[in-house]
Every structure is written in structure tokens, then in C-alpha cells.
């Protein structure tokens, strides 16, 4: 019985028929998706923190409204994704509890600090750029609610990247100090952005199953290569240098070759030892705890109003 169900399930996947919440699915498919989507949602939410740091210090009103809108979008992305994850049978509070206890992960990029205004440029350009590379194929993921959430997310991302690139462009056309600031931001954000695609393919044990289930459409290394190939000419337009001595065009491959990623650093950050892990998690836990009275008050208010409504109805009936 179980075998037949699984075969039928795989057949649907192979035929590109989407899986919907109440359809039968293998437990491992459900768990894999739940982990991936909730982790993705957490990343959007935690991802607001590094940029939130600069909203009050944006250099002018135009930059400020743009950054504010971008950060608000990221909150929206988190909410679309939590809502998709909930269809797999885990409550929002359970997901948040896993984030707050440290059991659930989020993208390690957000554990780096935002030291200057140029970081807003570099994040929009590179971090959102890498996110777009990852996310566009997810619009075709086999699980309906996830794919639909990703379509919404992707529609909004291109503004994020363009506003970031515009910040970089303005800095690069400014004073030598401003250009140096842009270069410094590129230096600090380049490698963490490269790590956003995850471990090398030969080190990514779950990829094969995710590919078979059509959750994943391209391998980590394929996406990373794409990212390098589009980023190099973008850096050239800015007139700043990607911090990789091994970066060079490979005529035979038709791609840029690039240097080795420091996976020790990646593993350290994932393990909780990045520069801002503690600060980020604390900000989330504080927000949750300090907001408790608001959540409770809203429930109490809703209950009171409901009761009053019922009383009036009873009186009217009598």
C-alpha cells in the first residue's frame, strides 16, 4: 500500500502536477518542505534586522522610504512563507519556538554586521541578488503553496536588488571616500553572499532527494556559478573589485573561475559563532516576549466584543 502511494506520488511529481496541502505525501517530503520553508521564513524575518539598523540613519528621505519599503517587504515574505509552512501541519507558534530556541536555522548571511551605509547597497545588490538566484527556480517547486508564495516573493525582489545597486552606483560615482566605502562593503559581503548557495554539491547529501521531488531545480554549485557570472560585469560597471584573486574568465567553460570558499567560516557561523548570531536571536526573542501583552490584549478585546455582540443578539431576540 505504502509503496504504491509513494510511486503514485512520484509519478505526479514527474508529470509536474503540483502537490496541495491535503494530498497524500510521504512523511519525508512533508518534513523536508517544512524544514526548508520555515527556515526560509525565519531568514526573511531575521533578515530585516541588519537593514533595520540603518533605517533611521538613511542619508535622505528617498533612501529612507525605499529602505523602509524593502524591509517591510521582507516581513511580508516571512508571512507568506509561514502561511505556506502552516499548511504542512505545524503551527506558527511552534515554528517561532524552534527559531527562538535555536533549533531552527536561518540564512547565515544575516549574522554579519552592517557597519556602514554602503552595506545597504551591498546587501540589496548581492544578498538579494543571491536570494533571487535561489528563489526564481522555487517558483516551480512541486508543493503548490510554496511555489505560489515564491511567485509573490520574486515579484517583489527585483526592486530590492535595484535599490541596492543604485546605492552602490551613487557611492561609486561620489567622492573617493564614498567609493572606498562601496569597495569595503563589497569586500565584506562578497564571500558570505557566495556561501548563501550552501555547501558544494559533493557535500550536500539531501540535494538528490530534493531534486527528485522537484523542490530543487538547480544544484548549489550551478546557482553559485550563475551568481558569479552575472555579478562580475555588475561590479565592472560600478568600477569596484570583487575580492577574489582567482576570479578570471574561463573561455573553455564559458564561465568565470573563482577561488575556494572558506567553509570553516561558514560552518562556524551556522554553528552559532558568527559575529552577530547572539544579537540577532536576542532581538527576535525580545520582540516575541515584549509583544506578549499585545497579543494577549488583542485576544481579550476580541473575546469581549464577541461576548457583547452575543448579549445584544440575545436581548434583541427576547
Amino acid at each position: 500500500m505504502e509503496i504504491n502511494l509513494e510511486e503514485a506520488f512520484q509519478k505526479r511529481i514527474d508529470e509536474e502536477i503540483k502537490i496541495e496541502p491535503r494530498d497524500w505525501m510521504p512523511e519525508k517530503y512533508r518534513k523536508t518542505l517544512l524544514r526548508q520553508i520555515s527556515q526560509h521564513a525565519h531568514s526573511e524575518i531575521v533578515g530585516m534586522l541588519p537593514e533595520g539598523n540603518w533605517i533611521t540613519r538613511a542619508p535622505n528621505l528617498r533612501r529612507k522610504v525605499a529602505l523602509l519599503a524593502k524591509v517591510q517587504d521582507e516581513a511580508g515574505h516571512g508571512l507568506y512563507l509561514y502561511s505556506a509552512a502552516e499548511t504542512l501541519g505545524m503551527t506558527r507558534d511552534e515554528m517561532l519556538a524552534e527559531l527562538h530556541s535555536g533549533k531552527a536555522k536561518y540564512s547565515s548571511i544575516f549574522n554579519y554586521p552592517t557597519l556602514t551605509w554602503a552595506d545597504m547597497g551591498a546587501i540589496g545588490w548581492l544578498v538579494d541578488g543571491a536570494a533571487i538566484m535561489n528563489q526564481v527556480p522555487l517558483c516551480r517547486a512541486s508543493y503548490g503553496p510554496y511555489a505560489r508564495a515564491m511567485v509573490r516573493v520574486c515579484k517583489e525582489e527585483s526592486f530590492h536588488q535595484r535599490q541596492g545597486y543604485e546605492i552602490m552606483l551613487t557611492l561609486c560615482q561620489g567622492t573617493p571616500e564614498q567609493k572606498a566605502m562601496a569597495q569595503d562593503a563589497l569586500n565584506r559581503w562578497w564571500w558570505p553572499s557566495m556561501m548563501m548557495f550552501g555547501p558544494n554539491d559533493d557535500n550536500s547529501p539531501n540535494s538528490a532527494q530534493s531534486t527528485k521531488w522537484k523542490i530543487k531545480r538547480f544544484s548549489n554549485d550551478e546557482l553559485r556559478q550563475k551568481f558569479v557570472d552575472v555579478s562580475v560585469p555588475q561590479a565592472e560597471i560600478l568600477g569596484i573589485t570583487i575580492p577574489d584573486a582567482d576570479l578570471k574568465w574561463n573561455e573553455a567553460r564559458g564561465h568565470y573561475d573563482f577561488g575556494v570558499i572558506n567553509w570553516d567560516e561558514f560552518n562556524q557561523v551556522v554553528a552559532g559563532n558568527g559575529p552577530c548570531n547572539k544579537q540577532r536571536l536576542k532581538a527576535r526573542v525580545d520582540a516575541w516576549e515584549n509583544g506578549a501583552w499585545v497579543r494577549e490584549a488583542a485576544v481579550a478585546y476580541a473575546e469581549k466584543r464577541e461576548k457583547r455582540k452575543q448579549n445584544t443578539e440575545n436581548t434583541n431576540a427576547a
Binding site: E20, R22, D23, W24, A69, Q72, D73, G76, L79, Y80, S83, A84, E86, T91, R92, D93, P145, R148, A149, R152, E156, A292, R295, E296, A298, V299, Y301, A302, R305, E306
Partner: protein
């Protein structure tokens, strides 16, 4: 401290006058008013809608996916419900 999670609401949006409301996702809110306001902020930041419906998820009832085949079976063999079932002369053009 109460651990009560805010109820879940399904959100439907009419993109513009003349179109149906379409399901876009869900959200949590303490009451109807908050659900509609949150739906506006979460799902219509770029003028994606002119009207919002919210329905508490527990009030939504659906057909059974596992019975999909039997359930929709009555329509399967009734090809005479489609215009192409009827064979008419070509001169007739567009009917």
C-alpha cells in the same frame, strides 16, 4: 500568561472590479478587523486588490482530495456538454 495563538484566516482578494475574489494565502489575527487590515498590509502593498474577504480557516469546508476521482466522475463521460461534440457544416462559421 495565555498561550493562545491568534486564529488563522484565509484571505481572498479581488484584483480589480469585475474579477472574482481569489485565494492568496492566510494570516493570523485576533479579530475580523485586524484580519482585514493585516491582509491589506501583507497581500496588497502594491495595489494588488480593490476588495478583501477574510474567512476564519476553521469555517472553510473542502472536498476530499482522496475522493477526487469518484467525486468528479459524473462529469467525465458527458462530452455532449461541450460545444465540440456537435458536428456542423463548415459554411456555418463561428457558432
Amino acid at each position: 500568561m495565555s498561550n493562545k495563538e491568534w486564529p488563522l484566516w484565509e484571505v481572498f482578494i479581488r484584483a480589480k472590479q469585475g474579477l472574482n475574489h481569489k485565494h492568496v494565502g492566510s494570516l493570523h489575527a485576533a479579530d475580523v478587523k485586524m484580519a482585514i487590515e493585516n491582509a491589506r498590509d501583507v497581500y496588497t502593498r502594491r495595489m494588488e486588490g480593490v476588495s478583501i474577504w477574510v474567512v476564519e480557516s476553521k469555517n472553510l469546508h473542502a472536498s476530499e482530495p482522496s475522493e477526487q476521482e469518484e467525486f468528479f466522475d459524473p462529469a467525465n463521460d458527458k462530452i455532449y456538454r461541450h460545444p465540440t461534440f456537435y458536428i456542423l457544416p463548415e459554411e456555418l462559421n463561428h457558432m
